[in-house]
Every structure is written in structure tokens, then in C-alpha cells.
Symmetry: C2
């Protein structure tokens, strides 16, 4: 394998797709977002990066709340649709069936397998994006996914974005046990 | 589908696995990390969340640099190994073949398909974790993955962590074109 330096300083990886919800000018609005991550173990926090000029960004700044929702493959066209079209030019409030939990300005999507509502605890201003860090106030899941009290996201047909090749990918099966398969590595050799 | 509120406020999703590198007490050290994301478009920034008590955290705080590396499935045992074992109790510097780019304290992994070296521009202190936000100084890839100047991460056999069921998952094929499939959604119905 020959490793070469790239023209662009950009780490390419395959990103899980979420739908981020907010209330903007009084209506629920959703946006497809691949730039998110859990960032704190307890209490659980989620960070979401959005371009400063996104319509959804305004709503999160205004209310200090957002939701994050895990779409299954059955929602791929709608997820892509709310990624392509900005709420600036189109009312997206009717694309999904919405429900609310404890926060009145964090709309969630009833047809998503797993959802969480978050309250912003910190906002980091980056050159082109705002990074919203939210503490999770409550989480919800399709009861059919729950085993031992926790939802299994792999059973929700999650999908992933990769650019290139600008496509959505499905998940294949499990091939190793986490926090166990490493016990088979004996060290020493590289 | 019946959506229920979960006992734990925790958004479960399927996370890409990376290996984060740092120099700790003068040696390269790597840790398996699933809590990371791109967070700024241009220049590209990566955020990585690490428990405050991780050994690797010390090195990033000391030097203000880290690397992020995308392991393929062939490295799953070693990736898991450096996740199970802390550098506090074990010298992990020999697990991978290391190379350096522009930063002298951001070791990268030669057998990973895609790597980037980052300089920390901001650190966010959260209750249990530190969130390191780094600007990407340079990125590297196996030349066999490159098409039109950019590496295609889907060709690197990336893998994903989900808990439950505490396993590593592979990627399946593409099933829809991103930024196009949404054009088929006609709106109106939910």
C-alpha cells in the first residue's frame, strides 16, 4: 500500500445520516445532517455541526433546542429531500409526522426509529459552521427495537453517506465482537 | 410503530470507527474512537471526544495535535485491542507502523486507508469528556482508493460500532444516489 498526501486536507469517512429538527419561525423544520457525534458519556451530549447560513441554524440559535432523529432506509427519499431543499424557500413542516417530548421547540419525527431531544449547552463558532453541543433531555425509540431497555440501532435500517461516490449505503452484518476481538491480538508484530 | 420514551436519555446510532493518534510521554499512542465528526466545511475541521481520564487525552492536551485514521476490517483486532487496553498500563507504540506528516506529534498509521493530521484550535470541557476541535493540516490516503483526486472511503472496508449489540458491522452496498433520490419525493403526504 502506498500512502500519498492529498491535495485537500480532508479526512474522508463514511458518515451516519441523521435528521436534525428545530423550530424555525414557528414551524417544525428538519435537515439531513451527517456531521454529528456523541461527545459526552454522562449525561449524554450530542454535537451537531451546521453551516451558519442554514435555515435550521437560525431556529437552534433562537430557541436553544434541537432534536436528532435516526431515519431508516424507508425514509431515504424524504431525508435526501430535506437535505436538498432549504426551509428558506420551502415549508418542510409537512414532510414528516411530528411529535414533541419535554421541549416545546424540538420537534421529533414519529417515523424515525430513534429520536432524542436536546438543549444546547454550548455553541462553538467555527469559520463556516456552528457546532451546537446539546445535552440530551430525553430519548425515544420504536419499541420493537428495544432489547434489555436499550434500542438496537442496527435493526432500524440506518444508512450512511459517502462522498465520493455521493451515495447512500446500507449496513451489512456484524463480523466481530466489540471489546472482545482485540483479545485475539497477541501484540509484537506490526 | 409505537414510539416509547427510554429510561436513558441517549441517542443510539451506528458509529464509524476511527483510530486517534497522539504523542504521549514521547511515544506514539493510538486509541479506538467512535465519537468524532467533521465539524467545519472549509477549512476542514474534525472534532473528537475523549474521556478526560484517557491516556491519549494527556498527549493531545500537551502537544495540541492529534491524528485521525480510518482502519479497514483487516485491522479490527488491533483497533479493538487499542480500545480495550489503555496506554497507562501498556506501551502501544508497536501495534501499528507509524508515519508522520507536517506535525511532529501527530503519529499516523501507515496501514490505514485514510489519515489526517490535525492541530487543535479549540478544546471544549464537558462533564466527563474533552472535545478537541482540530483543523486538518494535511490528509493522506492509499493511492488505490483515489478517484478524481479524492479517496473513496467506502472502498477501504470501514467498519462501524453499535452498542447494543456490542459488535462491529461492515458496510453494505450503495442503494440510492445522494442529493438526487430526494427529487423523487413529491411532497404533500407524510
Amino acid at each position: 500500500m502506498a500512502v500519498v498526501k492529498l491535495a485537500k486536507a480532508e479526512f474522508n469517512y463514511v458518515m451516519p445520516v441523521s435528521l436534525v429538527g428545530a423550530t424555525v419561525t414557528g414551524k417544525p423544520n428538519f435537515l439531513a445532517v451527517a456531521w454529528f457525534s456523541r461527545v459526552n458519556y454522562s449525561p449524554s451530549h450530542i454535537a451537531v455541526a451546521l453551516s451558519k447560513d442554514h435555515y435550521t441554524t437560525r431556529g437552534i440559535v433562537e430557541h436553544g433546542t434541537f432534536s436528532i432523529n435516526l431515519p431508516g432506509a424507508d425514509l431515504v427519499a424524504r431525508a435526501d429531500y430535506v437535505g436538498i431543499h432549504s426551509g428558506k424557500s420551502m415549508d418542510k413542516s409537512a414532510v414528516f409526522d411530528v411529535f414533541y417530548g419535554e421541549l416545546e421547540t424540538a420537534p421529533m419525527i414519529a417515523s424515525c426509529a430513534i429520536c432524542a431531544e436536546c438543549r444546547v449547552v454550548q455553541t462553538v463558532d467555527l469559520p463556516s459552521d456552528k457546532l451546537f453541543i446539546g445535552v440530551e433531555v430525553a430519548a425515544y425509540a420504536d419499541e420493537r427495537l428495544i432489547a434489555d431497555g436499550e434500542p438496537d440501532a442496527t435493526r432500524a435500517a440506518p444508512f450512511f453517506l459517502a462522498t465520493p461516490p455521493t451515495a447512500y449505503f446500507a449496513l451489512a452484518g456484524a463480523f466481530a465482537d466489540a471489546w472482545r476481538v482485540g483479545n485475539g491480538y497477541k501484540g509484537g508484530e506490526k
